[in-house]
Symmetry: C2
């Protein structure tokens, strides 16, 4: 439009024109003047999906898993540099990236004095020594960087005693032995992995006077029963006889010396004598080859040492164009026990490919998300989610106020059969939307969603048959985000066809056989499952960071609450009634939540049909984002460190309902009315009711009292 | 603009016009199209200031204080209806209003068996009985609704023993008596009000075996030494000889049976046997007339009873036009001990006048604030801030996420000399801005600000001489907002010229002499100080609810932190060094906070010069609003119920620095290095450093990692 042309006209025409200008300026509705707000761009989404490259993921994995990279090892630090280099790349990097380091307490076997498990004959002579290292079958199981199999945080000591087989080392296993008249005092308990947590085996054993614990991997649990060398890796994906699962035996998470404080050098550290959560007695993992050979008297020598080490997180960010103070946080840990091709490098390989594709669009100027995307590579996860936990302790308020959701991709591929997602209800919809649009790897033309529903499904009263999301425990770095900060979280992976294997987990988990070739040959040849996970995570991240309306559907919590309520009514109702405890207030609270969540959904639909102001949508999005926070109560479970989410805290009671209620009822069941245990049931019930009423209040129209 | 005129023109003209329309629509820059965002309107402010009417406040007060309105009494409920009627008035009401009721544990004297204090002669006969009621000097001290003077929550019991004068009932007072060889076991301690909290007198006494406690009001503390009937009310503002200060002797706040839970009927209630915080021994307040007469053996009979009562909060809201999910919360309690003309009705009279003026503008359509304004009338404050605390427990998350600031006006006028404001640093600026523009009552032409600075001032390194804000303890309903929720808060009142009186508080405080005439004749004839408080609160509320940029200046925290740091260095530095504890990390954290707060201030200034997008300003305002939250740590002081603010928790140590540090050092001082007490010093130091680092992190540009 050129003003010069206009100036050539006569005065009368100018007046008319002037009128027109005035009309044009004032009389045409405002709407046309404000450009459409930035929203999810399906073309960009398509581009990203197309550019996520299986072969690049494979090359990432090869590099990441080339050497063992135990937390705080030189190679772990090399990978910090690799991540920084990628995330600062001028062509495919992020807006900025940096590493931050914590000084944390880790546990290692002694290099000079390896841990030893010997069978001792009646005269005291050594009859058999267990393997100190795994057999070097591919050339990657040897060398100084392959850490000896050990139980991290197990105390050192050299107990000697009769061997007793104690199944999974659960409390009921030891009770059963006692019932059989077997004396446990001073024995060495041989237990197998699974059933209860690692540290719990030693805790349970010590209660019965056991002097030391061995933990082995049973071929029935991990190898579908196969155990001979020619049936196992490198001839199949199964664990060789010498393979030993390493792992942390610490009962909590985060740096053991700085609970609730970041492990920066200046932070107060608990005196070692006052640290709780370490296994109380020497403990050592072994392979099934050795487990088979064990007889009679056993001598276990554990020389583990605690060391203060520096461990880094690497963080990178793509700054949001419109709402930079809203974070979509996506992360995985970097440290492994040995080469860690599957755990965690299969996730990190995906992370790097996703940051490359998004970084390239960014650097080209093609795209910048509406909200900020934060990429994270956590340190020392294997020792107890340490890097992520310290990060949440350091930036508690900032993260809690601003984080839209946390996406975790740790082991990205366990196997090639199907997607598996764990998460809280508000993320269900965005995962469904994403997976319906991506083709499943393998033959046929199914979407990831349609394939997924064949393996994991449930009948939803609202939606009919849908894929079922698992719930989040504390198995990876999502734990501090959901349990401590109350941020809607999810964990994404590809996994097994359970009709084909009963392996507790992929067989070489935490052993020196978890290598690149293992992945390349057995787990995901062609890397199409890796690519599927990259696309799923990528689509979820784009939807969360770019959609004008946040795709978090809070009303999907109603189903969970209703099912918890029904379980409480069916399985605890009569018991509670006997003790004059009413579930009425809980019923009301659930109903109120359902009504408010549905009404909010209605308001969103109405608003979406109009052309809402960005500030209006921001206010609404805040309600969606912050709903998960309303379920936190830091005083609900004083004995459970970090766990504050009243819906997802650990459940020890058998009834699948609100965990505080389930646990308290299970403890009160055999006590008299009026006992402290029954008071705790009432307190837990009030905590849930207050949380649900508070949640409903945050969903109401914001100016309703 | 009429379209019909346009249609009459010829086609050529129409084309020209069309061009003009296009030009007008597209060629005039966008800026002109987006209207200036809603901001503080000085004309509206002026109108509000002018309409706040001293005489209406006086009439409010007359009605509010016409009858005693003890928490949960019928008259208290009548006032709930009065507030609802005012706030629902079609001409001067709010958008909506409602009452919500909690079932809370209160304590009352028995009507059948009044509490008794008798002097007993050597043979057991009663020599003298203390007054059971105050003398009916104005006709308002009699009648069934004037509650007998008593110590709320003191247990019942009838101890008899020798009277021992124990000064203020502080721990050192009892120690001093022991040093003098006075046997305390089984005695009745006579103490005077002041020095330590009410409940603390009984707690300290019981530790030394004292059987009962009397608390009297000393004329030296309250009456500038005057004590005869002709020198006291109704002849002056001083307390008559028979006046007795009532009060709650509960050590915590909130409903005693439902800590951390709202006292709704369904909530779990602690067993009475497990309630802590009640005075351990019978306690009774008396007047100085009786105190003077007390001799030898005394018999104290306390028949207080605990009762579950319904107590209501009344809430009203003016919905924000632009950001309805941001709340400016303004409140006062409603319940009194007797007529409560000063405490709390002087505040409620102001509250009603402010809601009337704003409500009228609202109903006329003249004005609607940018953010929501919430008015609150709290119940049962006198028993321990119960209504406000239960409210914060019920709506914890919603309030924490959305509340811009809390403004408390309890006793609005103690005396006519000067404004007095207690608050956290971020509210300093808005109070200064408001008070500079309002004329001070009384002779001369000073502003409230210029008058204020004559009475309370300090030398600020940043601003030079300024009025000094006091800090917030737990004296009124602001306590749960600042300490439990971390919401920037303030308490506003007019108060004494300290050169004219040394009265600990206005003399008829919590007695039956706190009546309308007392206020009308002695405290504020003409009600100009009430009006000044109404204008100050009104201007602060308008500025907080209407300003586009929130007038919370977070950099004003830097001065506080710096002064706490300097005190730590000067008064604790050497001691800490002896125990190898460095203040270095604290120095760094304070410096980082200062730098980030200053940089944020710069960014705001820059933005204010341009024409920022409302979303941009919202993001910035969120940083300002949420700063105070970053100082909360619910695990910092596990023994201090509700107190989570690491800068304002109760300080028992003598050094005026970070309270956790001060207290821990004071406890560790005489213990050896390596003691648990010194570990606690280090833990407290880490808690403060983590909070300050976290605060600085929230002030950084939001996309900086």
């Amino acid at each position: 439009m050129q003003w010069t042309k206009v100036l050539g006209l006569g005065l009368g025409a100018a007046a008319l024109l002037g009128l027109g200008i005035i009309l044009g300026h004032f009389a045409i509705p405002k709407k046309a003047n404000s450009p459409a707000p930035q929203d999810l761009d399906l073309e960009i989404l398509e581009t990203v999906m197309g550019q996520l490259d299986a072969n690049r993921i494979r090359e990432n994995l090869r590099e990441l898993s080339r050497e063992p990279h135990l937390a705080s090892s030189p190679r772990d630090e090399d990978l910090v540099q690799l991540l920084l280099q990628r995330w600062k790349d001028p062509e495919s990097g992020l807006d900025s990236a940096g590493a931050s380091t914590y000084e944390v307490l880790l546990s290692f076997p002694s290099q000079e004095q390896p841990n030893v498990v010997d069978i001792v004959g009646p005269t005291g002579g050594i009859i058999h020594s267990c393997h100190r290292t795994e057999e070097n079958v591919t050339g990657e199981q040897g060398g100084p960087d392959v850490v000896q199999p050990y139980a991290a945080y197990a105390p050192s000591g050299t107990p000697q005693g009769l061997l007793v087989y104690a199944n999974r080392g659960a409390e009921e296993d030891f009770k059963e032995l006692q019932t059989q008249g077997i004396k446990l005092e001073g024995t060495i308990a041989l237990t197998r992995y699974g059933g209860v947590g690692r540290g719990a085996k030693a805790v349970n054993a010590a209660k019965h006077g056991v002097a030391g614990v061995l933990v082995y991997t049973d071929p029935a649990d991990i190898n579908d029963g196969l155990s001979s060398p020619d049936e196992t890796f490198p001839n199949s994906w199964y664990l060789p006889p010498s393979g030993v699962e390493r792992g942390s035996y610490y009962e909590y998470f985060g740096d053991p010396l700085t609970p609730y404080l970041p492990a920066v050098p200046s932070s107060f550290r608990v005196d070692l004598a006052n640290v709780s959560g370490f296994p109380p007695i020497p403990t050592q993992p072994i392979g099934f080859q050795d487990a088979r050979d064990l007889l009679c008297q056993v001598n276990v020598s554990v020389y583990n040492r605690l060391e203060l080490r520096n461990s880094s997180n690497v963080l990178g960010i793509i700054r949001g164009a419109v709402e930079p103070d809203r974070y979509v946080l996506y992360g995985n840990h970097r440290d492994s026990w040995v080469h860690g091709a599957v755990d965690p490098s299969s996730g990190t390989a995906v992370l790097l490919e996703l940051s490359r594709v998004l970084g390239t669009l960014l650097k080209k100027g093609t795209w910048r998300p509406r909200r900020s995307i934060v990429f994270a590579s956590w340190g020392a996860e294997e020792f107890g989610l340490i890097g992520s936990t310290e990060f949440t302790e350091e930036f508690f308020n900032k993260l809690q106020e601003r984080t839209v959701a946390y996406i975790n991709v740790d082991i990205s591929v366990f196997a090639n059969a199907t997607l598996r997602v764990q998460g809280t209800p508000p993320v269900q919809t965005v995962v469904f939307s994403a997976t319906k649009e991506i083709r499943s790897p393998g033959p046929g033309d199914l979407s990831i969603y349609d394939n997924w529903i064949r393996y994991f499904n449930r009948s939803s009263p609202v939606y009919g048959l849908v894929p079922s999301l698992g719930s989040l425990g504390a198995g990876s770095d999502y734990a501090p985000f959901i349990h401590f900060l109350g941020i809607s979280s999810m964990d994404i992976a590809y996994t097994y066809d359970r009709s084909k294997t009963s392996a507790r987990i992929y067989p070489t988990y935490h052993t020196a056989f978890d290598t690149f070739d293992y992945v390349d040959k057995f787990l995901d040849p062609g890397f199409s499952s890796h690519q599927a996970v990259a696309r799923t995570a990528g689509s979820v991240i784009l939807r969360l960071s770019d959609s004008f309306f946040l795709p978090l559907k809070v009303s999907d919590y109603s189903e969970t609450l209703r099912s918890f309520l029904q379980a409480a009514q069916q399985d605890l109702g009569a018991l509670l009634e006997q003790h004059s405890i009413s579930l009425g207030p809980l019923v009301n609270a659930v109903e109120k939540f359902e009504a408010e969540a549905a009404a909010l959904g209605q308001r969103i639909s109405t608003l979406q049909k109009g052309s809402p102001d960005p500030l209006q949508v921001r206010m609404l999005n805040d309600q969606l984002m912050l709903l998960e926070r309303t379920f936190l109560n830091p005083r609900a479970f004083p004995e459970e460190r970090y766990y504050s989410h009243v819906l997802w805290a650990p459940r020890t009671g058998s009834v699948v309902t609100f965990p505080g209620l389930s646990n308290a009822c299970s403890r009160a069941r055999d006590t008299a009315s009026g006992s402290e245990a029954w008071a705790e049931v009432q307190r837990q019930l009030s905590i849930v009711v207050t949380a649900l009423e508070g949640a409903a209040a945050t969903l109401r129209p914001v100016a309703d009292l």
